[in-house]
């Protein structure tokens, strides 16, 4: 006679079983903690408290810093959606809204709210718009030129274009490029605005939380910033705004190729971008975009050292 006739995880489908598993886990943690000497617990508590404090501070600062750009992106998305619903631009409406994403003079944070306005487009066009708008928006280009110089500015544009095209190609040939339509058009304009803002804010907040968690729990990583691989990892984890990545690159790295890799990874390989892609187009396409970004970082490093 078999005691368990189903696979183990099947028993966790019921709500009571899940609660029992959580309670059991908590009890085990308490038992392990109780066996530790008080000095170790005090030291761990002090460290954990400081880490929590730092996490909350950084997460709050990221939300606060991104709020104007999220609101601006949501306003632009609302306007675009309303115009599209009324067919103001008729044949050119989609081209206009897509071009707006390419030239949107805000931070990459605004893409979290504006990306919903690109519904219904071909995945390749959306990929180009989102990647280029995040990596090579006017603010990012101006900051790069001012801080890192025109040579790295040119390389940033070349690599950004390469990543956008690679992402577009990879999404075009894959059948499961999800085109999620966020249906706000039937509501009043302020409800549409709240819809775009709420979606973008929830996406950004989760990505920022992951980024802050990594920053707080792996501080030693930032103390060993050498080499292109570390530059890419630092850029992906720190995930600064496109207006701040040039400054951080100049301060944290002395080598020009590493600075380029950092700024590219900070916009094309960062957690925020991945969460945005996953939310709207699925994990598979997000992974393809990440692969394209890695290829782009490699190309950029080779071009910079040449």
């Amino acid at each position: 006679m078999f005691l368990f006739r189903r696979r183990a995880v099947a028993y966790l489908r019921s709500e009571s079983a899940r609660r029992f598993a959580v309670a059991l886990t908590l009890l085990a943690v308490l038992i392990v903690a109780a066996r530790q000497p008080p000095v170790a617990i005090d030291r761990w508590t002090a460290i954990a408290t400081l880490d929590c404090k730092r996490f909350v501070f950084y997460w709050s600062s990221m939300l606060l810093g991104a709020s104007p750009f999220l609101v601006a992106g949501a306003i632009a998305a609302t306007v675009a959606a309303r115009l599209e619903a009324r067919s103001v631009f008729s044949r050119w409406q989609r081209l206009v809204t897509t071009a707006f994403a390419l030239l949107f003079p805000g931070c990459d944070c605004s893409m979290n709210a504006y990306a919903g306005a690109l519904r219904g487009r071909h995945p390749a066009i959306v990929a180009c718009a989102l990647v280029w708008g995040s990596c090579c928006n006017p603010v990012a280009l101006v900051c790069t030129a001012r801080i890192l110089g025109t040579h790295l500015l040119g390389l940033r544009m070349i690599v950004g274009l390469a990543i956008a095209l690679l992402t577009a190609v990879s999404w075009s040939f894959c059948k499961n490029a999800r085109d999620e339509t966020i249906c706000h058009t039937q509501h009043a304009w302020w409800e549409q605005f709240v819809g775009y803002t709420g979606d973008g804010l929830s996406s950004f907040a989760r990505a920022a939380a992951v980024s802050c968690l990594i920053l707080v729990t792996a501080p030693r990583l930032l103390a060993v910033l050498h080499g292109p691989l570390m530059a890419a990892v630092a850029g992906a984890l720190i995930s600064p705004c496109s207006s701040a990545d040039a400054l951080l690159a100049a301060i944290l790295f002395r080598s020009r190729p590493e600075q380029l890799v950092f700024v590219i990874a900070a916009q094309c390989l960062d957690i925020r971008q991945l969460v945005l892609f996953t939310r709207l187009y699925g994990a598979a396409n997000a992974m393809r975009a990440s692969a394209a970004a890695l290829v782009g970082c490699t190309i950029g490093y080779i071009l910079a050292i040449a």
């Binding site: 810093g65 709020s67 931070c107 709240v194 803002t197 709420g198 996406s203 400054l247 944290l252």
Partner: protein
């Protein structure tokens, strides 16, 4: 559909109530941050712009169909802001002892720029700079630095010098000081760092300029 053992769900479609809650919560948070005058420690954005953003978020979320829910989350956001600490030291290397161009005309930054361009011109010479003081800890030497924040506190970096004072310093951490010492270069962890040795540290008021 095949069974999935691990599903990471990123909700594409939030309920309208949740969207309003997010907007109202952020609006209340920004209003409280402005009221507590701690926005400058969190971001480098002008308070006027933040107040406009808060008004837009609060107004739009309260105008919808979930007014009561939005009001509740607006209060929650404000209460959350009240739990924030006044200041948290920047993450990463304690102090970075090299600068970047076109950032600031501060004397400390200018000195670091000169060191980056021509170290021999300053190393071995006496230098006076002004910045924020942080006393010696078990992990790092005392430092005088300026905080450079391009966007938000999570991106902020401290830039300055290590300091080895000639006598005990009573200045509290994060107070504004003037440090005069001899510039020395040394290696730590494979990186060249610059320090002010035999330094004299005096507390000053903010906003005054320094020199060599």
């Amino acid at each position: 559909m095949p069974q999935r053992w691990l599903v990471v769900r990123l909700d594409t479609y939030l309920p309208s109530r949740d969207r309003s809650a997010w907007c109202a919560g952020l609006g209340g948070f920004i209003l409280a941050v402005l009221a507590l005058h701690i926005s400058s420690t969190l971001v480098s954005i002008a308070p006027v712009l933040l107040s406009v953003v808060a008004a837009v978020l609060a107004g739009a979320s309260l105008r919808g169909a979930y007014t009561r829910t939005s009001l509740g989350w607006l209060i929650v956001g404000a209460l959350f802001a009240m739990t924030l600490p006044n200041f948290v030291d920047s993450l990463g290397p304690a102090v970075v002892t090299h600068a970047t161009a076109n950032i600031s005309h501060d004397d400390l930054i200018a000195a670091l720029e000169q060191l980056d361009d021509n170290p021999a011109g300053l190393v071995g010479h006496r230098l006076a700079v002004r910045g924020r003081w942080r006393g010696q800890t078990a992990q790092a030497a005392a430092t005088v630095s300026e905080r450079i924040m391009a966007c938000c506190a999570a991106d902020a970096v401290n830039v300055g010098f290590d300091v080895f004072p000639i006598a005990h310093v009573n200045a509290p951490d994060r107070s504004y000081v003037s440090v005069s010492g001899i510039v020395r270069a040394f290696l730590r962890g494979g990186e060249t760092r610059y320090a002010l040795v035999d330094a004299r540290v005096t507390s000053v008021s903010e906003g005054s300029s320094g020199g060599k």
